[in-house]
């Protein structure tokens, strides 16, 4: 390979058609309320783990919809339940997180 001093940069674009959403669908079958997330961000704003680990449940759900690996974010969750308290859609966020931690393989 010739060294030009620069290389093709990887596209940051998300391709919905190529996104692997099986995990998202699996999650939705276990936690159907995951579908009702409207991305308001309350969960992320109140998250205890957020400041330490960048955990954002909103991004987790969105990332799954886009077929991304969200494990790094999940690792920081302490299950404190504040997100459950603030979710305007009443999503059982703790169950969602636990289900998600289980279905990754």
């Amino acid at each position: 390979m010739t060294d030009f001093g620069f290389t093709l940069s990887r596209s940051s674009a998300l391709d919905l058609s190529k996104a692997d959403t099986r995990l998202y669908e699996k999650l939705c079958s276990l936690s159907p309320d995951a579908r009702t997330c409207m991305g308001c961000g309350s969960c992320s704003a109140t998250c205890t783990a957020g400041p330490y680990s960048g955990m954002s449940l909103r991004k987790v759900i969105l990332g799954l919809q886009r077929g991304q690996d969200v494990r790094p974010m999940l690792k920081g969750c302490m299950l404190c339940g504040k997100c459950t308290m603030v979710c305007p859609r009443g999503i059982n966020t703790r169950q969602l997180i636990l289900n998600l931690c289980r279905i990754y393989d």
Binding site: A13, L14, L16, S17, R35, T36, M38, L62, R66
Partner: protein
């Protein structure tokens, strides 16, 4: 003899007003350019939030106004101010002297072809909300594939868009998109539906329930980001580009069908009427109401009233309520109270 009231426009606003005026003892003269009454609603299939039949609404209103004078395929040629009232000359040669005129000229659907980047009229599988309603009504449309797997809805086509000449929100499209997304999923249970939105403006009664339902029961995915351009792939799919603003990343999707939620703009005929009757136009391109809070149905001319979407985007129930309100205001005006 009963007193004449000219109603310009035979959509649901004009029909409802005619019905009320008949009840109040007047002879409404409904002037409609098209060959049928009911305006846009007559082309629609089902109406949110109760999924009522649009045709039924138009038919019921039609049954109520059989006693009115209805001139189809007729235009207003000019309006002359008389000492008391107006003389309205119609294109069919009839001229009517009346003390009150109701302008119910409605809206025009934004011409989606003007958003060239979406390729309406260029790509094989791009349709508008109106086309989809027409298809729901059982009229075949070659642009709707036999079994689409991925369907996209683009909100705000020709709304909130200075470049398209309409900076206003068309108000009903978000809800229409959610309704149509659900209906599409009912037609094609295997399809994944995406709604590309900038803001979801679901303001009305039970609209939010529709939204939640669309997400939970129908798995509709709402992607916050305006579609920037559409291309066609070799196999006839549509390649849509947008920014997934919630991810902060550019997003691509291949779709089988794209539905453009064309917004509402003022009927250009209204500008013509405004010129004839010296009515004022508002900055949003619609007719200017006497007052946007307490005098929505009033105009700047005595005896000329407005109802429905000629003064701005309206839902069907809002239009009907305005029509009733206008009929009452006309009655009070004629009674001199």
């Amino acid at each position: 003899m009963k007193e004449n009231v000219v109603i310009i426009g035979g959509g649901v606003a004009g029909m409802e007003a005619a019905k009320q005026l008949l009840f109040l003892g007047y002879t409404p003269i409904v002037v409609e350019q098209k060959d049928h009454l009911g305006g846009h609603v007559s082309q629609w299939n089902r109406l949110f939030p109760d999924m009522a039949s649009a045709q039924d609404l138009v038919r019921h209103l039609g049954e109520e106004i059989v006693d009115a004078n209805i001139f189809l395929e007729t235009k207003v040629n000019f309006i002359n101010r008389l000492r008391e009232g107006y003389l309205v000359m119609l294109s069919n040669g009839v001229s009517v002297a009346c003390r009150a005129i109701l302008v119910a000229s409605g809206f025009r659907l934004f011409d989606a072809a003007r958003k060239e980047e979406y390729g309406y009229g260029v790509y094989d599988h791009v349709i508008t909300n109106a086309d989809l309603e027409n298809w729901f009504n059982g009229n075949p449309d070659p642009r709707v594939p036999a079994s689409p797997k991925k369907v996209g809805f683009v909100h705000c086509v020709g709304s909130r868009d200075l470049k398209a000449g309409n900076s206003q929100c068309s108000k009903v499209c978000c809800m229409t998109a959610v309704k149509q997304a659900i209906e599409m999923k009912e037609h094609f249970p295997d399809a994944q539906i995406y709604c590309f939105y900038m803001d979801l403006r679901l303001f009305g009664k039970k609209y939010e329930d529709f939204y939640i339902n669309a997400q939970q029961e129908y798995g509709v995915q709402f992607i916050r980001g305006r579609v920037s351009e559409v291309g066609e792939t070799l196999d006839g799919h549509l390649q849509v580009k947008a920014e997934d603003t919630l991810s902060g990343k550019p997003l691509r999707a291949q779709l089988d069908l794209l539905v453009l939620m064309a917004g509402m703009v003022c009927n250009p005929e209204a500008a013509e009427l405004a010129r004839m009757a010296r009515l004022e136009m508002d900055s949003d391109g619609f007719l200017r109401s006497a007052d946007n809070i307490s005098g929505i149905v009033g105009s700047n001319r005595p005896g000329i009233f407005y109802a429905g979407a000629c003064t701005g985007t309206k839902t069907v129930p809002e239009t009907l309520a305005e029509a009733r309100s206008a009929a009452l205001d006309i009655h009070r005006f004629i009674q001199g109270k």
